[in-house]
Symmetry: C2
Subunit: 591 residues, 2 copies
């Protein structure tokens, strides 16, 4: 069975040395001393490694079962959920007014990475609840907040997000679920929602569904969508769950992965709901949570890659096959371990250099979210809005590829479920799809985010890269990193210019390059992260660091990213510059 | 449920117009008139589309079950296998002396593509039997041939290949299974083999296991391995199956995919076997079938991509989401179909340009196998030996990526098993692993094949490309294809030079670039195929072809491959040229 050991040292490196969180001028960050964050990471590492990871394969094998409207979760999940609740892990970054611990998003993100690595299906019960918490906290009335938030923060109740219907996912304007206003100010909700993760289960006293629906007579399409709170059990004035609402789970899907979390088809048959936020402003309410939710999924991409990588390394060290061509490394054994072989090493370095770069990128994104919120910093808000589709789309596309590469290290055993590598791949696959399929992320990037506020956020990004390069221009040791970063960044600027100039003439020139642009941008972001990490590591080595091997490995891994991963940038530029014509040449009936 | 319609028109295009098989000077090819091959393809298309494809999901859902040593196959498989046997599909390219139809490998490959697309798990029963047939036909005694081949050709009996053991797959020198010689000339085989596809099942009267084992006292390692015929039921002098041999299936694995075919752990407990070929020459016997077997797996990569693509197209036409930004295409409907969107179109064009290029590549490879065999042409043998790891490794790596892309078109539905797209991905995953994991293919290419016979085969390949370019140098319309092909080929030559020069100093420089070199080479091969297909299509358009749209689409798809896929070549070169240092910089304990 695979294992998971939280990479707390790498996490602490990013928090303390790369992002320097303790010294950052964001309210609340002055609590993030290394001793404190280290203790949180260690304790989270313990519960995820010892309690959640051993249940990961159980969840996959048993799955969830629906019987008489009740969904049963896999063996051990209830007990683990109790431990998680009791440990206070559910409200790390929630408002202390409602029982949360008030930590910044960046700490919650680091902890969430561990939860996701150790057991993605399990972690989703909690992360979806956090989504419902955020929506109600941001858009709810005072009464709604006091009624729902304490139990959502503690996960005594869990939450769900109900967007998709059988005929519409991306294009929610096609939605058919209706919300009919009642005389008492409530609404009767009717319709079917599908793919509702944790839509029904037996681990919580109540489930609070957030449901998008249309009020009759409202505007057409997406502008007529409102958001509703629809509890499974109606919450009476005493705020304890009471009568069963007219909402039920009609089916759970057989999925490729994340079997431990049920994807429910939810039937709303005149269920009682309360408007959350304003009428017809449901999409806007969803959008306010989007950066955080999508950053969370991008984090899952790196989290599955991390756990798959850890187990690939174990196998590569353990499995004896063939000999090092430069001389036997295990001469007394029948063969050398896989890890001596350059092609295995390339495979592992791809994974390692992606994961550590992605971690820095995601945590940096979380700092921007904190800065946007806690400092009401519009520039940080603009920059993280620009980078969000890249975090979500690029990190899950590449994260998935990395789980596939990790699986490949196992040879035939990688294909056998008993070894667990297949599950990582199957679980990771959903991250490319949910919370906006990656093609939609790419369109969001080139169709909306690039041009937002007159394009100033992408300019701010380029400034940031150029400033970094300029600051290090006299540092000889850094040239190995700033050089490739400059080239990659120039390539991205060329792509940006192409999209702007040609997208004016024909929007399809922009859209045809969307996915390549997202990947090109992602590589530049990870290049920037690695250049930054190399600088920190070189400085530590200059200063007689305690653990020089750790920093030398960071420098070597940065070098790998520059040499082996950044060359993808020019490929993406060439594809983008070929424009829409090759893509759109065939008629729709010629496929 | 997904469907499959054999792409007979595309297949016929490759056979008749690209490869011009009927006019080729290989014995037997003079029978391959378009009418004849067309009839075979149509009939194979019928049985695969109507009989095998509907059983694909049944096989996945039910899987195989082991009870009291008996493996039961999924519902409908037995009846379908009977139809396949009755239709004569099992011996297409087998020797007529043993009941086969004596067709060339290229025809069998085209038909096998359909079998694999429609139901990979089912097709494997037959393809493994074909492997056993080939081994016995090439290395068996006259008596062995007459005893086993007729029933293997008809698939009355099926065959297996037993190589892997729990502790060794790639490195078969570590093998522990022993074969002890008996006084009567037979051997007693003892040991455990794992991952034996179709190792036990109830669809055939007998199962003929080909087993690699060591004879005590033989040479160490791989040089002491011999090949044995070990029937499930001992075949008496009357050649009908009799007493049960001491071989049994101890376990079937839970796999990520190909559930309709059991991966058996086979226990040999002093089972009676007969030496096939010479003592200690077992690996050589396996190698003589390797090109064909690996070409067959490369074909599976394209076959799964093809069926996934077909279903992605259906969904992209059917599913309404969003609007074409250049103007509504379905103004009376609530939204436009997915296929209007450039990013979906890019996704589908990636698939289409890969599949059709890969098909030409694989069929061309099959022609080389035929030429090597039927004309005893050493140059063809050398060239296909060089290209085999590319066909296997590149086509299954990219084929898998394409099934993932096809699945992505379905959004959330792609993750739900009911829609069938997950199965294509899960089934395709094994093709990167079995018959030599793709990393091993890459090592075979750079470590063995490039240098074989003084490197003359890779030179022959470059000559072939240059000759094609030279022949078309005055053809204006071809410049759009020969230009990118020349650049890609030059890039490959640069990579080859790098590997030769630096691999001399340090073999790790060669090995660290192995996978990138395999992919770079694969792109050049598909570029060559597309340039060739473009030429044929342009010529047909000049000559007032019957169906100009068909040829225009070929030209447009060729253009897509040049514009959007060949830019990967320079990325691979850059990675290769970074050499072993970034890859090997970390100590084995630093991962």
């Amino acid at each position: 069975m695979p294992s998971y050991i939280a990479p707390t040292k790498d996490m602490a490196f990013v928090l303390n040395e790369v992002l320097d969180v303790y010294k950052t001028d964001i309210p609340g960050y002055n609590e993030l001393e290394a001793d404190f964050t280290g203790a949180v990471l260690e304790e989270a590492g313990r519960i995820t490694g010892q309690v959640l990871a051993p249940l990961n394969m159980v969840g996959d094998t048993e799955g969830c079962t629906l019987e008489n409207g009740v969904v049963r979760v896999p063996t051990g999940f209830q007990d683990a959920f109790d431990q998680v609740r009791k440990g206070g892990w559910t409200g790390l970054d929630c408002d202390p007014e409602y029982g949360g611990q008030g930590m910044p998003c960046v700490m919650a993100t680091a902890v969430a990475e561990m939860f996701s690595s150790s057991n993605q299906a399990f972690a989703m019960y909690q992360s979806l609840t956090h989504g419902a918490y955020s929506a109600i906290r941001t858009h709810g009335t005072k009464e709604q907040k006091s009624r729902y938030l304490p139990n959502l923060v503690s996960c005594a109740w869990t939450g769900t997000m109900n967007l998709t219907e059988p005929h519409c996912g991306t294009d929610l304007g096609l939605m058919r679920t209706m919300a009919v206003p009642q005389e008492d100010g409530s609404y009767k909700i009717s319709g079917q929602k599908i793919f509702i993760s944790a839509g029904e289960h037996d681990m919580a006293d109540n489930i609070i569904h957030l449901v998008l629906a249309k009020i009759p007579g409202g505007p057409e399409g997406i502008k007529g969508v409102s958001l509703f709170i629809v509890p499974k059990l109606l919450v009476d004035d005493g705020d304890s769950p009471g009568v069963r609402n007219s909402v039920s789970c009609g089916r759970i899907e057989k999925k490729m992965g994340i079997h431990g979390n049920p994807a429910c088809a939810m039937n709303y048959d005149g269920a009682t709901g309360a408007l959350l936020g304003e009428e017809h402003k449901g999409m806007r309410a969803m959008f306010t949570m989007m950066n955080e939710a999508r950053l969370g999924v991008g984090m899952q991409g790196l989290a599955q890659a991390e756990v798959a990588y850890q187990n690939a390394v174990i196998y590569a060290r353990d499995r004896l096959q063939g000999r090092d061509v430069t001389g036997a490394r295990n001469p007394d054994g029948p063969a050398d371990p896989l890890i001596v072989h350059p092609d295995i090493r390339r495979n592992l370095m791809d994974q390692k250099s992606f994961i550590e770069g992605a971690r820095a990128f995601v945590y940096w994104g979380a700092v921007m979210i904190d800065r946007a919120r806690r400092n009401e910093d519009a520039e940080a808000e603009g920059l993280i809005s620009l980078l969000t589709p890249i975090i979500k789309g690029f990190l899950t596309d590449v994260g998935y590829d990395m789980t596939v590469q990790a699986q490949q290290v196992y040879g035939g055993h990688g294909y056998i479920e008993e070894w667990g590598m297949s599950q990582f791949t199957r679980d990771a696959r959903v991250t490319m799809i949910y919370e906006g399929a990656n093609g939609v992320q790419a369109l969001d990037l080139v169709g909306r985010k690039l041009a937002a506020d007159g394009g100033k956020h992408v300019m701010a990004f380029f400034d940031l890269v150029q400033t970094f390069i300029a600051e290090n221009k006299d540092n000889e040791a850094m040239k190995a990193f700033t050089g490739p970063l400059r080239e990659a960044s120039n390539t991205l600027q060329d792509a940006d210019i192409y999209l702007r100039q040609n997208g004016m003439k024909n929007p399809n020139h922009r859209l045809a390059g969307a996915t390549d642009f997202m990947h090109l941008f992602g590589h530049v972001c990870l290049g920037l992260m690695w250049a930054h990490m190399a600088k920190v590591a070189l400085k530590a080595l200059d200063g007689n660091a305690d653990d020089p091997a750790f920093y030398k490995n960071k420098v070597a891994t940065a070098r790998y990213y520059m040499a082996r991963r950044l060359p993808a940038c020019r490929m993406h530029l060439a594809r983008i510059r070929s424009g829409a014509d090759p893509v759109m040449a065939l008629g729709t009936d010629s496929f």
